[in-house]
């Protein structure tokens, strides 16, 4: 039994030139935890996964997976880690059974055991009926599920899933979630999961880290992070940018924090509902006409907005007209 922990210290990965895809990242994943690794496109999620799973070498820094050094004990890391990469690597002309049995045998199972395990896993990912079809003819979701099964063949202690639900329909996504939870609870697997979906991290992860431009922006429990935002927010949308700014200048002093997101002003404060009349009065006084006014509970999306100054769904390159005012 390995320690089932992932310990990452000052990990860096430099690509051509002076570009650091991962820039001094440190975090700890406890044994038996589901850890969500969140970030926008190009943040460095996959680069981190390829280093931790021994496909790439870090430029500097240290990491231990299950107690094994990813640089010097790569073979041991491969034994205890199961990996489903973002780019699914399955030979399209092979069939699910062949792939799973080959995988099992390479991990030292006898052919009979490998076949038994393959059947079990196909059942688990609901692909038992599709063993005759070459995987190249599978749908995207079926291929993802098979890839998950491939990662589980050798009963890993630590599972790395790089965007396991990207491209899945909502039903399949919930299946994967259920399976991830089951593996975590019943088999005690430590799970490191990257995702673009905040709701996924919110749903599954015991703890999350948000990575942005190669650096960890924030780390903690989802609830804790949301709470740190100061509970709820009042969102007031206006017709144009100057009006938003005017409203912010007027209302800033009344709330804990005001933030502009496009033409919406977000006002963060405790007991937001009680503050609505005051906000409305102030706007009336200044003759600023809002288009809409809503009240929301904080989401991880807000956490993300706060730590990166960006809305989550947007590409990093997008110039989002967002401006944080503390």
């Amino acid at each position: 039994m390995s320690s089932r922990q992932i310990i990452v210290e000052n990990l860096k990965k430099r690509y051509e030139g002076d570009f650091y895809a991962v820039n001094d990242v440190s975090f700890l994943v406890n044994a038996g935890e589901i850890f969500g690794f969140l970030g926008p496109n190009g943040a460095g999620k996959s680069t981190t996964v390829t280093m931790l799973t021994t496909l790439a070498l870090p430029t500097s820094g240290k990491a231990h997976v299950g107690g094994y050094d990813i640089v010097h004990q790569a073979q041991q890391v491969r034994r205890i880690a199961g990996v489903a990469l973002q780019d699914i690597g399955l030979d399209p002309v092979m069939k699910s059974m062949e792939l799973l049995v080959t995988q099992g045998q390479l991990f030292g199972m006898s052919r009979m055991d490998a076949i038994k395990r393959a059947k079990e896993l196909l059942e688990l990912v609901r692909l038992s009926e599709f063993t005759d079809r070459p995987v190249g003819k599978y749908s995207g979701g079926m291929r993802r599920r098979l890839d998950l099964a491939m990662a589980l063949v050798h009963k890993p202690e630590i599972l790395f899933l790089d965007e396991p639900t990207t491209g899945l329909d909502p039903a399949s996504r919930r299946d994967v979630w259920a399976e991830v939870r089951r593996l975590n609870v019943q088999e005690g697997m430590t799970i490191f999961l990257t995702t673009q979906y905040l709701e996924e991290a919110d749903e599954l992860a015991d703890r999350i880290a948000i990575i942005n431009a190669g650096k960890i922006a924030v780390e903690g429990q989802p609830a804790e992070l949301k709470a740190a935002l100061g509970a709820e927010s009042i969102n007031v949308t206006f017709g144009d940018n100057p009006t938003v700014e005017k409203a912010r200048d007027a209302l800033q002093s009344m709330v804990d924090r005001a933030q502009i997101d496009r033409k919406t002003l977000r006002l963060y404060l405790q007991n937001a509902a009680y503050a609505i009349p005051n906000v409305v009065n102030k706007l009336n006084e200044l003759q600023l006409q809002p288009l809409s006014l809503t009240l929301t509970q904080p989401t991880l999306d807000d956490v993300f907005l706060q730590v990166t100054g960006q809305r989550f769904e947007e590409e990093t390159e997008d110039e989002a007209p967002v401006e944080a005012v503390a």
Binding site: A56, Q75, L85, D87, G89, D91, L106, F107, M150, E219
Partner: protein, 276 residues
């Protein structure tokens, strides 16, 4: 953020985790088998090779047998030209192994295999052996057609098998070049290009007439070209009998053409699988 204040303590993994793994020979067999299964499901990759070698045999035989046989002292031109056909099949067929590797690199399965405890040697020899098997099929087909066309061998059926052996040896040794290019570039275009790079070798030699009838620079090129000695060995087997001196020279030529690519391919494998 995220100050890493916690002390880095970890339980050292127990030694009992000493993992089992598959014996090397089994890994090699399994990887070879896998590649053969892939070939069977994508026959388009080998059929052109098969067709072309048989086609050349027909053309050479039909167009040259009447004209240029004065040096043959009554022996058949078919037996004289057959080794050319076999050698060119070997050289073009030697690219197969590289193509199988590129395929796996492109579809990502290569990385998936790298994440298992697979031996690097099995990773390399699976495609090479599958390529060799295809080469044997291809060579046997050419020999079969030649026999239907009336091939007579001075050393009988054993000689025909020996010629097949030469074809295999040459093609398998040479496969190292395609494999190296595949591993270094990961590019299908570069890999199929590489197997053509040595195509001229089959012409800068005693292709259509014996070497003593060549002149000038072509003769010099032929003398330096290892293929010449493979041709000489296989021709002597089919036309004259067991000439051990020629056969020895032919084997040395195969070794030269095989060992160098093999060494390069081991280095290329290291390049590909060493983490960056």
């Amino acid at each position: 953020m995220t100050a890493m204040t916690k002390p880095i303590t970890q339980t050292t993994p127990s030694v009992s985790e000493k993992a089992k793994s598959m014996p090397l020979w089994k890994q090699i067999t399994m990887m070879t088998w896998r590649n053969l299964v892939v070939i069977r499901r994508t026959p388009a990759s080998v059929i052109p090779g098969l067709m072309i070698s048989v086609f050349f045999l027909f053309i050479y035989e039909a167009s040259l047998s009447g004209a240029a046989t004065f040096f043959l002292a009554g022996q058949s031109y078919l037996a004289f030209i057959l080794p050319v056909s076999i050698i060119s099949a070997s050289l073009s067929g030697s690219g197969l192994a590289g193509q199988y590797i590129v395929r796996d690199i492109e579809n990502g399965y290569f990385d998936k295999l790298l994440l298992t405890p697979i031996s690097r040697i099995a990773l390399l020899s699976g495609p090479v052996f599958a390529g060799a098997f295809m080469l044997a099929v291809q060579t046997a087909l050419i020999l079969g057609v030649a026999m239907l066309m009336g091939l007579e061998s001075a050393t009988g059926f054993a000689g025909i098998l020996a010629v097949l052996g030469f074809g295999l040896l040459l093609g398998t040794g040479f496969a190292g070049f395609g494999v190296s290019v595949a591993l270094l570039t990961g590019s299908a275009a570069a890999t199929s290009g590489a197997s053509f790079a040595f195509f001229p070798l089959t012409f800068l030699t005693a292709t259509f007439v014996p070497i003593n009838l060549l002149e000038g620079w072509l003769k010099t090129a032929a003398e330096w070209n290892p293929i010449t000695y493979v041709l000489q060995a296989t021709r002597s087997i089919l036309l004259e009998g067991w000439n051990w001196e020629y056969i020895g020279q032919g084997l040395i030529a195969c070794a030269i053409l095989g060992v160098i690519p093999f060494v390069i391919s081991l280095w290329a494998l290291r390049q590909r699988t060493s983490r960056k």
